[in-house]
Amino acid sequence: MALDEIKIGGMGASRRRVEDNRFIRGKGNYVDDIVLPAMLHMEILRSPMAHARIKSIDVSKAWEIPGVRLVLTGEMLAARNLAWMPTLSYDTQAVMAMDKVRFQGQEVAAVIADDPYIAKDACEAIRVEYEALPVIVNPMQAMAPGAALIRDDKENQTDNKVFDWEVGDRAGADKAFAEADLISKIELHYPRSHPSPIETCGSIADFDRATGKLTVYMTTQAPHIIRAAVAMVAELPEHMIRIVSPDLGGGFGNKVPVYPGYVISILASILTERPVKWIEDKTGNLISTGFGRDVYLQGELAVRKDGKMLGVRMHTISDHGAFFADAQPSKFKIGLMHSAFACYDIPVAHLTATGTYTNKAPGGVAYRCSFRVTEAMFFQERMVQAAADDLGMDQAEFRRINFVKDDDFPHRTAYGFLTDSGQYGKCLDVGLEAIDYKNFLVQKEEAKKRGRLLGIGISTMTEPLGAGNSREYDILGIKMFDSAELRVHMSGKAILRTGAKSQGQGHETTWAQIVAHELGIPADDIVVEEGDTDTAPFGMGTYASRSTPVAGAAVAMVSRKIRAKARKIAAHLLEVSEEDVEWELGRFYVRSSPDRGVTIQDCAMAAYSNMPDGMEPGLENNAYYDPPNLTWPFACYISTVEVDPETGVWDVLKVVAVDDCGVRINPMIVEGQIMGGLTEAYAMASMQFITYDVEGNCVGSNYMDYLLPTAWETPGFELHEVVTPCPHHPIGAKGIGECATVGGPASFVNAVMDALRGTGVRNIDMPLLADRVYEAIQTGKDISGAPPIKTEE
């Protein structure tokens, strides 16, 4: 009898997360929990200025403090050719400032001492003399004639432009716009945000002079890429570098890049020959590490009177900070921005993009999304709402008639992506039904009598997740496949290792479920290990919702290799030929007499004790998986809000989420991902942004200014599902980790804009803080751009 898949914790089981056992008991093992013998502590001195020439650095007072072991400055790094490092976007980034500082929070010096208190005291004793330079805090200033040159270190760089780039069909778009009945326009700013994991970045570098080996415990989502990067930057042989990423307290994209702190701690360990721990503080994390978004979006949609979309044009102006250190693996300068409108059947599209340097922190990361997909989907759904309004057409109907239809797959999007599956109309219907769309107008009228404005906002989206196939995606030339290694012990228990790295996604739980599904080994009998480059097989790490699409597929494929070998062993044990052996979950049996069978555990034991003649012993294997395409989940998020026009305060009444991420491995974990994503979406829409004042001071450098939503104000979410399996993924799964963060914000903003219908306001840029909503209602005008920071009336 085949096993009951749910009982053994296979696919579809809402199995409890095994990792939670240690987390809720306080037994997690984070970088800061690791203590090595004779370990020293490092603290970084950061620049208070956003743009200034460094006239002098006097570290003598720091050296005088007892317990100080080393003081490092840019000059000392330069002497070892380490003052600059390459970025993931083929630019260079200062590890420590030498000539000048280019953003507030930039690394200027570091102290290594016996304990972190001494290191901090010594940092305060360092005297740096700065000469202020003009500060640039947005792309408009950056591109203005005569603007101060931020990257004067780069040969041939004469202005603050990072790139000009385009994709799509310019002439085709021009033609579509010429033939349109109506051209709808919108201008948006997606403000700078920060992934802000609760655990900040940190590392312990341990260079052993005797063995020549460097071990680095590090908060990284991608340990193998870090090993490659360290080999490049520190010029150490790859086999002498071991990167260990222990438990991570969240990542959200923030822990993909290589940060100066890591590099400095490595050098410090090499110089002191002692382990050196660096744990960034919250402010350091917020002001210096990889941010998200910060893009100005302008767009136009050409439509016919009957609502058919004819073409779209987009222009983006992005703010990359002082160094172009975007952590993204595509060949496209503005990431996957051109995934916009992938769920709509739109014949032609054109995108132009301009990137600029500013005096802000570098390192744009894909904050819980495939790179720039969040901005793309936000733009798309705000544009669609605006066009529906301009047409005077129902917003749901406008979407429905333009969706790619269920039987039109595979579908080549106007920008050239290939989408492969989905039931877009069905998802929308489920959502409209759940929110009671038909009766909403009645509620709206009732609320008006109470002096309140009600609004409903729809956001639908499909996003390319799971980078990626090796033809189009790489990091520093390394192709983006993933691997898994499965070792079945003689008792039928197993250990699985992958090159991915969970930061809360629950890989230890779900990977075992995939093996259980493929082999019938109970999930509880499988231990999952990740994060140590000395033991884990090669992988590109966990971000961009790529783990299930890529590493998860490798887990299925390696399980199938094991099953193929076990089948040979089963035939041997059953004394029949392999063709006569059938498989059901957990068991091989003889086709002609199903009662005669052996379990997968029997086969495992035989692999060590009774293998067929000539067969290599053991039951283990590995698999590398290069996905044929990205996966394309779809979602429809609908929310209703109530606005108090007297104060601009708005409350969420209801949020309905319909997600189609293909086959769900662990439904509970999938739902957790959606709720977490919607919470972040709500935060971005309502309260969250990092902005800078005119002097380049970061406003958002701590949790009093950079607001994370709490359980208190986060609305409840009602979740629904539709399942369209991914046609090319071995278990039919699509990415889900990021859909709600990507698609969610537009549903909230669209809802508030819907509530403001009739006031003449067409757009308020995020975050929709009460004062901005109030001002819009009062003036009847749009509120654009980063919320202005003025200190005086």
Binding site: E43, P116, Y117, A119, K120, D121, E124, E646, T647, G648, V649, M687, T691, V699, M704, D705, L707, P709, T710, W712, E713, L769, A770, D771, Y774, E775, P787, I789, K790, T791, E792, E793
Partner: protein, 291 residues
């Protein structure tokens, strides 16, 4: 967190605490709930030589109502104690309304009412309630006790009228002479955020007429604003649409807000008048209902 070096003392009596402060000569600081002082240490904005932790001094954790109707809040009474207090729920609507709006539920379990008033943060909620209620602080030093009226207690942003060797041992809300009404409305971007603007109102009525009024504003100036002109305008007559509107305008005029990331100055002024009118309308409705 890596604060600068300091000595830590944990006295068991007020007398011992006061002598430690005296010996500290201005370089010692009282540690109550630590919810403002500890973040300042972390950020190295404060670097006292000594912390005098008063948490182990018995007899300071109380909130009680005396026979004359005055309310007494001891130096170790936490925000949460006030939020859950039956005495407050029954007799003191201004404090009852503010308690659940101070900080977040976690901070409220540690932070103290008196500590908050001592901290004199222009964005602190309790100072406004104290001024609206015309309360006073009881200070104890080497030479005994003295009363400091709340309206004189805050001398500037993060500055109070205590001498370096004095401890605020109690906050007192005087006995009311009429029926007690009050409210507190606060606009915050998120739970645990300081006020964008907040309004504290304390009224006493007799025979339908206002016989005492106190209004104070949080977050709209370099210190808690005593909107006494607005308050005085209400005294002597019943609440009417006109008097409420007028008080709203006067309070907005008394505010001295600055534009910042919490909102523009004009928005904050608008919130002051809107919130004041909302509180007064509520009171007016409930007094009409009662009458």
């Amino acid at each position: 967190m890596y604060p600068p070096r300091f000595n830590y003392e944990s006295p068991k009596s007020l007398a011992e605490a006061i002598s430690l402060l005296t010996a500290g000569g201005g370089e010692a600081k009282v540690l109550a709930g630590g919810q403002s002082l500890v973040p300042m240490l972390k950020l190295r904005f404060a670097s006292p030589e000594m912390l005098v932790d008063i948490n182990n001094i018995p007899g300071l954790n109380y909130v009680r109502r005396d026979a004359d109707g005055s309310i007494h809040i001891g130096a170790l009474c936490r925000h949460e104690d006030l939020e859950k207090s039956e005495v407050i729920a029954e007799h003191q609507p201004t404090i009852a309304a503010a308690a659940p709006l101070v900080a977040d539920p976690i901070v409220r379990t540690r932070g103290t009412f008196v500590g908050s008033v001592c901290h004199a943060d222009p964005q602190g909620d309790w100072s406004a309630t104290m001024i609206a209620l015309d309360g006073h602080i009881v200070a104890q030093g080497p030479n005994g006790k003295r009363n400091i009226p709340a309206r004189d207690f805050v001398t500037g942003p993060f500055q109070n009228a205590l001498a370096f060797d004095e401890i605020a041992i109690e906050a007192v809300i005087p006995a009311p002479k009429g029926d007690v009404h009050g409210g507190y409305l606060k606009l915050e971007r998120r739970v645990g955020d300081f006020a964008t603007a907040a309004v504290a109102v304390a009224l006493e009525t007799s025979g339908g007429k206002v016989i005492r009024a106190g209004i104070a504003l949080t977050g709209v100036g370099g210190r808690t604003i005593n909107a006494n002109v607005a308050a005085d305008s209400l005294v002597g007559s019943a609440l009417t649409i006109e008097s409420i509107t007028r008080a709203g305008e006067l309070a907005a005029a008394a505010a001295e807000p600055r534009s910042d990331h919490r909102g523009s100055a004009s928005y904050k002024r608008h919130i002051v008048s809107t919130f004041l009118t909302r509180i007064l309308n509520n009171i007016s409705e409930s007094t009409v209902k009662a009458a």
